[in-house]
């Protein structure tokens, strides 16, 4: 094909995330009459999230990476906005934000592409957000007071560390590959994680309490190398984008299914899945939101603050 693109992800080839990518592969070949060929590499065979993103920026052997918002946030600052607790709290609304008319676009996307372009990236598609709850080994966490004194695993994100310490817990940085054993032996008592991911990493075998707090959004974004994207003629770009949009829309139901299945799986593994009341969620929000917002946006330039404003405006329009 004229345009051969390698899109890489750390997600496994059997997941619903992979289904979206595979659907995109087929549609892209079909709509472009074979001018665009999408290759996919799953399971992190070409590198971890950081490496894949750097390789995408370079665009040599990898032209696209599927990354979490948290991971993108260390490259594209404005993405850190999505780390703010409860800023988005519904999967459908997260999708509406990026696909106002069923197509990738609208004020948030336009603003975001500007910031992505500075890092040689281009946003190709977004899937429905997931939301993190709190998985703990023994102690059920229903209110912030229950977090007091727990040892909680965090990623290197400053926002996440701050949220956990604001709640009175100790924050320990661990790689995801160490979490299983750490929960099993009690090195840590829990972590903030979406239900689907906790099932994917078999953490329901070792953590026994899950609070579906849905407090922090966890988005996944397919980005591609901007230079390579811009080299493509506009009509081809439109066809590829159409393929990406349709791939997200047609696989949309898989995301709700995956969430339902993961909750069922957790229960099957004897995990007590707790759905908090609005009041309880409010207690968490009050403690963490302001401080997390301050940290997420602390070194934002005026242009980056503009993104935050656009995002907030669009979110309030949704209501």
């Amino acid at each position: 094909a004229e345009y051969d693109l390698m899109l890489a992800t750390t997600t496994p080839s059997t997941s619903h995330w992979a289904k979206t990518l595979e659907t995109f592969q087929q549609l892209a070949a079909q709509y472009s009459d074979g001018h665009v060929n999408i290759n996919a590499s799953f399971g992190g065979a070409l590198g971890n999230d950081t490496q894949l993103l750097q390789k995408t920026q370079l665009g040599s052997s990898v032209q696209g990476a599927y990354s979490s918002g948290a991971n993108l946030g260390s490259v594209v600052n404005v993405m850190r906005t999505f780390d703010i607790p409860y800023i988005v709290s519904d999967a459908q609304k997260s999708l509406d934000l990026f696909y106002p008319n069923g197509q990738l676009g609208g004020p948030v996307v336009d603003e975001l592409q500007k910031h992505m372009a500075k890092k040689n990236l281009h946003l190709l598609y977004v899937v429905p957000f997931e939301f993190r709850g709190i998985l703990t080994t023994e102690k059920a966490v229903h209110s912030p007071a229950d977090m007091q004194g727990l040892k909680i695993r965090v990623t290197p994100s400053a926002v996440e560390r701050d949220m956990i310490t604001q709640l009175g817990a100790g924050a320990t940085t661990l790689g995801i590959s160490e979490v299983y054993t750490a929960l099993q032996t009690g090195t840590v008592d829990g972590l903030a994680i979406p239900p689907i991911t906790s099932v994917a990493f078999a953490l329901g075998e070792v953590g026994k309490q899950f609070n579906m707090l849905n407090f922090q959004p966890h988005g996944s974004f397919m980005t591609i190398n901007r230079k390579i994207w811009e080299k493509m003629p506009a009509d081809l770009q439109a066809k590829v984008q159409q393929a990406a949009d349709e791939a997200v829309m047609t696989t949309r139901p898989l995301y709700d299914e995956a969430l339902e299945k993961s909750v069922a799986k957790l229960q099957e593994q004897n995990v007590t899945v707790y759905v908090p009341t609005a009041e309880e969620q409010q207690q968490f929000a009050e403690l963490i939101t302001d401080s997390a917002t301050a940290i997420a946006t602390q070194d934002f330039s005026s242009e980056e603050m503009e993104f935050v404003n656009v995002l907030k405006r669009e979110l309030s329009n949704q209501l």
Binding site: S74, K151, T155, P156, A158, R161, G170, A171, T172
Partner: protein, 179 residues
């Protein structure tokens, strides 16, 4: 003054690597203490120790050249008649090593520029990647210096030894007899 310079010349990489290794051991233990006893672990231990480990390995490269420790697979005969050939091969191998250093210097220099242009930083501490990658050309230039010194040493030694060449030339075997 000259003596200090000589010690630095002799021990520079060794000193850096040893200190970094000791530092990692101390901070990891401190981390266990802070987490288990005080439940307030540091945000940076993980990233600092990973980064130091990376630099121990790379700064160790010129050190290992200097102390003849790089892993080679030596299947050449060690008889007296091979002494000259072994020297030629040794020099050739070091020239190839220098060639690799040059390639790696260019690659990491370009990687440094690339990261500088994009302003990438590490996740936790926010260290600019261009600085981290920018260390590589320095380290591999030092490696070239060490390789040149080592070639000169081998030639000198060979001149001295040509008449009575019996010594086993493999660095690893030499070490083995010593230890």
């Amino acid at each position: 003054m000259l003596k200090i310079l000589r010690v630095i010349e002799d021990r520079f990489e060794e000193f850096l690597c040893s200190c970094m290794l000791g530092y990692i051991a101390i901070t990891l233990n401190a981390e266990v203490f802070f987490r288990y006893i005080l439940n307030s672990p540091s945000a940076y231990t993980d990233e600092v120790s990973r980064t130091l480990m990376i630099f121990i390995v790379f700064i160790g490269v010129p050190w290992a050249v200097k102390s003849d420790r790089h892993v080679i697979i030596d299947i050449l005969p060690t008889t007296a008649s091979w002494a000259k050939k072994r020297l030629v091969i040794e020099i050739l191998s070091k020239i190839l090593f220098i060639g690799f250093c040059v390639a790696f210097i260019m690659a990491s220099y370009r990687a440094s520029l690339f990261h500088r242009m994009l302003g990438s930083t590490t996740e936790g501490l926010g260290i600019p990647y261009w600085i981290l990658f920018g260390m590589m050309p320095l380290i591999f230039s030092l490696t070239i210096v060490r390789l040149v010194q080592s070639i000169a040493r081998s030639i000198r030694k060979n001149r001295k030894n040509t008449s009575t060449y019996t010594e086993n030339n493999t660095a690893i075997e030499k070490e083995a007899h010593r230890g």
